[in-house]
């Protein structure tokens, strides 16, 4: 898989320009050219003195196992956060006060982030996992006419299975 440069860490020492056999690292916008990058080459990753370049993995192992009890407890809390997000959003949508709206939006966002994290720790962390594939397949099986089938199908075809 291709190399990726973290622009916040890049200190412009330019070693990647010297070692890259294809010129993939030499771009105007600093984004490494995926089309030229040789998968697994690693030359720029090893040469970079500021540790700004890393290889994006192509394969991932299965997720860490979770017990039913942990999943149930995480989901119970996540569901509470989901409802709090929905209420805060409804408040933000209905208030006439700009400050109240701002605060309600912050409460909604915070709850969404907590719910995401809690559900990540209940078997839905890795996009490539079997659990996510099952979820996508279930969505397609139960699809109503307005469901964006193409999005679920794209994900099932593009995300590699875990190793």
């Amino acid at each position: 898989m291709p190399a990726y440069r973290n622009i916040r860490l890049c200190s412009k020492d330019c070693m990647c320009l010297y070692v890259c056999p294809t010129g993939a690292t030499n771009t105007e916008n600093s984004i490494i050219d995926e089309a030229k990058c040789i998968p697994g080459c690693m030359a720029c990753v090893d040469a970079c003195p500021s540790g700004a370049i890393s290889m994006i993995p192509g394969k991932y192992p299965p997720q860490q196992p979770k017990t039913e009890a942990v999943v149930a407890a995480q989901r119970a809390l996540a569901l509470s956060k989901v409802r709090q997000e929905q209420i805060a959003q409804a408040v933000a949508a209905s208030t006439n006060s700009a400050a109240t709206k701002q605060f309600a939006r912050a409460v909604a966002k915070s709850n969404r982030l907590m719910a995401e994290d809690l559900l990540r720790e209940s078997r839905y962390m890795l996009p490539q996992s079997d659990e996510v594939r099952n979820l996508l397949e279930t969505m397609l099986e139960n699809a109503t006419p307005d469901f964006p089938k193409d999005a679920a199908e794209l994900l099932l075809s593009q995300l590699h299975k875990t190793t």
Binding site: P2, L77, N111, R120, L135
Partner: protein, 222 residues
């Protein structure tokens, strides 16, 4: 003297030192610090500070360990699926899978459009639900995660519990002060853990998840 610790970010008040630059002189007794005191690290109110010994133990997680109610797994609701999909969109973005990320966001939006809120709910409802999460949900979930030795789940619970505690203090303040709370203040939300704080300037790192502050975003007023 007992040391006093912020239960949200872990800041410890040291009486002989006071708080430099915040108007708390060295030697000031904790009791003599005004009630509108804010934690110099995370802006939490004075009420969340606990004596150090007390703050170190998590009694709820220990005492309830034999008393975990059996929760059953039911089908995921549209709201949960929406959240799972927005989380997976972020996961794909981290892996630089930008087309997949966009597809997960579309699914997230679709399931979000299938959710509804009962009318008559207010921010007071949110505060009550938060209080319930803090009193029960987190205790049960932390005991379960400890029991099953799931450090990943425990990590998410420790973060969310702190974020919830801070949100609750802000909702209580907002119920009392209303929009005045936000006069001359900004609202910042950590884009990683959801920590919210109300202040004039951002903090250096997130007091909960420790991410650097370029990932702590100001919530615009519009």
């Amino acid at each position: 003297m007992r040391k006093i610790k912020c239960s949200i970010c872990g800041y410890v008040y040291d009486k002989p030192v006071g708080i430099q630059g915040k108007g708390v002189a060295s030697g000031t007794k904790w009791e003599d610090i005004p009630d509108d005191f804010k934690c110099p690290r995370c802006t939490a109110p004075k009420s969340v500070f606990k004596p150090l010994e007390e703050a170190e133990v998590s009694p709820s997680a220990v005492t309830k360990i034999d008393n975990i109610p059996a929760l059953s797994l039911k089908e995921l609701s549209a709201g949960e699926v929406s959240v799972i999909c927005s989380s997976l969109a972020k996961g794909c973005e981290k892996q630089r899978l930008l087309i997949a990320s966009e597809a997960f966001n579309r699914l997230s939006d679709y399931f979000k459009s299938k959710t509804s809120v009962e009318s008559g709910k207010t921010l007071d409802t949110v505060a009550k639900m938060l209080g319930n999460d803090i009193a029960e949900g987190f205790s049960i979930a932390k005991a379960t995660a400890q029991n099953d030795m799931d450090k990943g789940a425990l990590r998410s619970l420790v973060w969310s519990e702190k974020v919830s505690a801070m949100l609750e203090t802000l909702l209580v303040r907002f119920a009392e002060e209303g929009d005045v709370m936000l006069e001359n203040n900004n609202i910042y939300v950590c884009d990683i853990c959801g920590f919210v704080f109300v202040d004039q300037t951002p903090v250096g790192i997130c007091p909960v998840c420790k991410v650097p502050n370029f990932k702590i975003l100001e919530m615009e007023r519009k």
